[in-house]
Structure formats: C-alpha cells, structure tokens
C-alpha cells in the first residue's frame, strides 16, 4: 500500500500545475434479508455508506491524461465490508498507433450479461456485491498497439489483489466463512507474482472479436477446509498459478445480438472449460413511446468438479438465463432488468431484479432484488441504494 501512496503523491504533484476536474458520488445503501441467517453471527439487515470521488485532467491536446478514483465503504454489520480501495490511479499517453497506460486501473473484457467469464484482469470486490461487477484496482502496465488489423494489448500486472469476501458477520457468503488472513499461494512469491496477459481485439463488420491469454495468479481461489485462530471452521483461499485462454465474440445484426464467451484454464487441478452463449433481441421504440424492450437468453456451461478444494466453486454449471430489459428512455433514464437463471440439473432457480431511476438532476435510486429457490443459499434480499452524483 505504501508504494501506491507514494506513486499517488508523485503523480499528484506532477499534475498540480494543471487544473483538473472533480466528480464522483456519495451513497447510502441498505439491504434487508428475508430469511433467518444460517450462522448466528449474521444479521437480517445492514446499512452502509460509500464515497467515490474522481479526479481527472488531461494535457498535451488530450493525448495524456491522469485519473484518480479512491473508494471507501463503511458498513454497520460486517467489518470486512468496511473497506477502501484505489479503484484507479493512472496516467495514459496516447499516440497515433499506440497507447500506454501505467498505474492502477480497471479493464473489462467480454460481451455476456449473466456472467463475465473472460474478464480476468481485475480482481472481484465480492464483498461489495455478489454480482461480481465491482472490481479492485489492479496495478498494471498496459501497452496497446492499434493497427488496421486490430488492437493488441499487452499487460504486465505486478502485484496481485486478493478477492474480498464477507466476514463472519456478513451475509451472502459461504458457510463456514472464508478466512482471507490465511490465504495460500502456489507461487513462492505469493501476491508479488508478476502476471501477464495479451489480447487481440478487432471489429470486422458486424462482428466484434477478442482473443486473449492470461498467465498468472488465478483471480478465483480454491477453498480449503481449515480453522481460524479461535478454532472455528473456515475456508482458506488458495490462489493457484493458471493459464487461461479465452475468446469473446459478439455479432450485432440489427435487433439481434449474438454473444459467445469461452475459456480454457489449466493449472487448477483438471483443466476447466466454460462457456456463456446467448442472444439478445430488442424491440425499439414500442408504439412510438420511446420505450425499448429487450429479451435476453444465455446458456451457461462449466465443466469444473464440485470439490471446492480443487476447483473454485461456481453456481452455474449447466444453466439457462432468461431476462427482460426495459428502458423507458425518459428524462429520468428509468430502466429495469428482470431475470432468472435456472439449473438444468436440479430445481434450483436464481431470480434477479435490478432497477434504477434518476431523481432530479443529481440523485440516483437503485433497487436490487435477489432470491434463490430450492437452493442451500438462504440470502434472499432486497437492496436500496441512493446516490448523490456530483
């Protein structure tokens, strides 16, 4: 953390001569869980506050820029969920055929909606939200070569970020909880192992294609049974060195989107193959109301074994996702995503509703409802988040 702080200060003073701009948000979030917890240390509800300012400026006619985004959350129930992170702290230099970015950053790969299978650069900030879309800042050196035949991105990733997990008092966790203080690594350099990734991406007419390879510490840990300092049973995360090759493709054919993500991973027990493949069809401007209605369906496949001490556990191994996306395209940008993921091998169903609406100019209200049927997971909940953006 010290070296990040030093880097931050250094970049900051370099940039004080140039006026930048501040933006960001502050939010209050509350979750209510409908079922009694399985562990008496857990509770039925929690409330928390978060703050994420953002500093940005550019110079050299927009060819260079600096971004700094710290994040902090304070939670009244789970000390593990009270956490801070440097989401982004980087400098970019853009030239005609290349771009260089150095610092702590965030990179997204992929096309699917129900799961972000190929997205591997950043560690998931799982304690933030179990949808896996919140990420921890990743130290990186990223060189992109931009050519007519596509973009090649090279990544050097010094410094591994451990996945965050809810603590004993938190909901939406494994039983027993995961003790992150005992994390194990395959590499003797542990979290200092330098990871590498390369990606080629290109647009060919209606097709957007990405091919990538990653070598380094798995972002997903296997979970070993163990005990904490007071002798309670816990899972101990173990981070193996893996090689992962991935493909992501989207075809955009008028109202149809066809999507495919495939990974092949070695290094964690038997090889892992996984796929998300799906379609999205949108009815635009229904009855000239401005409203768009999209239908999303995806199939999720993952051939890993169900022993968490060998393979990191996954919920969706042979599942179908069905969803409706509604966007009113009104002044308040009201939108909702209503979906379900059903296991084809059992009665297990996961329900998900996400809705948001702007209030006035600067407030945003988010609602999430998640429920698990015929499932060992007893963490059905509703989440309300009110954010002030500036």
């Amino acid at each position: 953390m010290l070296k990040y702080t030093l880097l931050l200060l250094m970049l900051f003073f370099l940039n004080t001569a140039i006026a930048g701009e501040w933006s960001g948000y502050a939010s209050v979030e509350s979750r209510y869980f409908f079922k009694d917890p399985l562990d008496p240390r857990q509770s039925d509800s929690n409330i928390s506050v978060a703050f994420q300012p953002e500093y940005w400026n550019d110079w050299d006619n927009g060819r260079q820029s600096f971004t700094f985004i710290p994040f902090i959350r304070l939670d009244n129930q789970d000390p593990e969920r009270s956490h801070g992170d440097i989401r982004e702290l980087f400098w970019i230099k853009a030239a005609n055929t290349w771009e260089l970015r150095a610092g702590i950053g965030k990179v997204f790969w992929g096309v699917a909606e129900s799961k972000h299978l190929v997205d591997i650069i950043n560690q998931t900030d799982l304690v933030e939200n179990n949808d896996g879309e919140d990420k921890l800042g990743q130290p990186m050196l990223n060189f992109a070569s931009i050519r007519d035949w596509g973009t090649v991105d090279l990544f050097i990733l010094p410094g591994f970020r451990e996945r965050t997990f809810p603590g004993p008092e938190g909901r939406l966790r494994t039983i027993p909880n995961i003790d992150t203080s005992q994390a194990l690594y395959e590499s003797s350099s542990e979290e200092k192992h330098i990871d590498y990734a390369v990606r080629w991406s290109h647009t060919l007419g209606e097709w957007d294609i990405g091919l990538a390879h990653f070598y380094g510490t798995s972002r997903e840990p296997a979970l070993l049974p163990g005990t904490d300092s007071s002798g309670n049973p816990v899972f101990i995360p173990r981070y193996d060195l893996i090689n992962q090759t991935s493909i992501d493709i989207q075809a955009t054919l008028e109202s149809w989107l066809l999507k495919l993500e495939v990974i092949h991973r070695t290094g964690q027990g038997p090889d892992i193959n996984a796929t998300v493949a799906g379609i999205e069809y949108t009815f635009y401007d229904i009855y000239e109301s401005g409203t768009d209605l999209g239908i999303v369906s995806e199939y999720l496949y993952d051939d890993r074994v169900t022993n968490p001490s060998v393979h990191p556990p996954v919920i969706f191994q042979n599942d179908i996702m069905l969803g409706l996306r509604i966007a009113l395209n009104d002044t308040q940008s009201s939108e909702a995503l209503i979906g379900m993921i059903a296991d084809l091998d059992s009665d297990e169903v996961f329900y998900n509703i996400e809705a948001s609406r702007r209030l006035g100019e600067q407030w945003k209200l988010n609602l999430e409802y998640r429920a698990f049927r015929s499932s060992p997971i007893k963490d059905d909940h509703i989440l309300l988040d009110l954010a002030y953006h500036f």
Partner: protein, 267 residues
Amino acid sequence: MKNTYKSRLPGIVFVIGALLVPLASQAETAEEKGLAIAMEYDKRDSGFLDLTAKMTMTLRNRQGNETTRFIKFKTLEVPGDGDKSMSIFNTPADIKGTAMLTFSHKLDPDDQWLYLPALKRVKRISSKNKSGPFMGSEFAFEDLGSQEYEKYAHKYLRDEVIDGMDSFVVERVPQYKYTGYTRQEVWFDKKEYRLIKIVFYDRKNSLLKTLTYSDYNKYIDQYWRAGKMYVENHQTQKSTTLLWDDIVFKTGLSKRDFDKNSLKRAR
C-alpha cells in the same frame, strides 16, 4: 393532306425540340428539383474535414419543468460514406463519461458503440434504434445523425418566404430502415441552402414535431452552423432546445480519435 402533314411533321418536331432544349431545367420534375436542392445543400457542406462542439440540451416537459444536459460532440467527415462521430455525456452527473461512437453509413445500418464508465465496458449496440429519443429529449437519434442526401427521396413542393428569407420547401422520405417518420417537410433558404425548419410526420403520417434552426454563424468563411435548434413535439407538448457552443472546424482530428480506444479515454 396526309402527305403534306407527314412531310411537315419532322419540321414541327424539330421546332418543338428546339424550344424544349433551353427550357429543360425548368421542365425538370419536382423530384429532380428536390434532389438538386438537397445535393446543393450537401455540396456546400462538404470538405469540412472535422468539427468539435459543445451542446447544451434543455428538456422541457408539458408542465414547463426544465432539465439540462451537457454533451461534447466531435465528428469526422468520411468521403464517400457517412461521418464518424462521438458524443460524450457530461451531465447528468451519474452518466458522466458515458460516450457513444457512431460510424454512420448512407443506407446501410450505422455501427455504434457505447462506453459505460462504471464498468469500463465498451458495448456494441444495435443502430436499429433510429426513432428512439436521444437522452430523453424530443430529438430522435436519426434527427442528429449525418444528413447525406442519399438517405432520402426528395420532392420539391413550393417556394415560400419564411422569417423574411426566400426558401425552397422540399418533402423528403427517409430511405433507410427503421425510421420513425413517413415524411418530412424541409425549408432551405435559397441564398445559402441552410436548413431553416423541418416538420416531421409520424408513422401514421400525423403531424409530430417541428424543428427550427436559428442563430446561424458562418465558420472559416464557408460553413454555416445553427447556434440553436428548437424542437417542439405537437403530440406531447414537450420541447427541447439544443444550443451549440465552441464550434471549431478543421481541428486536425483523425480516425484514431474515433475508435474504441479513444472512446474509453473520452471526456
């Protein structure tokens, strides 16, 4: 009699033909005249290379409540095809940094990508959504896209004086797919071939909205741009005012400023 008539016929044809030749331009059909006006408009606006500008969009609902959005806009002229453009949203604050990249085409569907800064995700989106509202405003996406003459079938309707300007009134029917309009009536001023007003008719051919261009300025001695676009929806009584500021032509942008990498950096 018959013979005489026959023998004289070529001569008559010749005389009529001779009369017709210098009148050809006046005898052009309404469609040809409409197309000629649109092509002249297109010609006068070509060669601008690139443009950057700031847009302030004020949305007004039936009750008169207002809300404002700031958007940065840049566009690159692509000879022989539609323009490339990027819109970068600055407010509302919750979508700050969201940006849209469009490669427009004359009749083929446009290519379009949306950048979502919270996820750092670049999403290829369908460009079928021509008729939907842009940012909740009364402008549809197709109203703000590039206006190549090939996108429409034209028909000259009449001359009319509007705001003291002699104008051509041309009807145009969109030829691209998924438009929200059966037809539009467009007023071009005769002197400068600028857009003065467009009246839109919806899919049922009912009067939908009127777009008025005003506060024109001439840039680099050649290109006229309206400083204000006001659109009023006659069916919902909502309206939107779009003000253009800091318009700069020929800033030296290249196709590299309109790719997925620059989309992620756009602010």
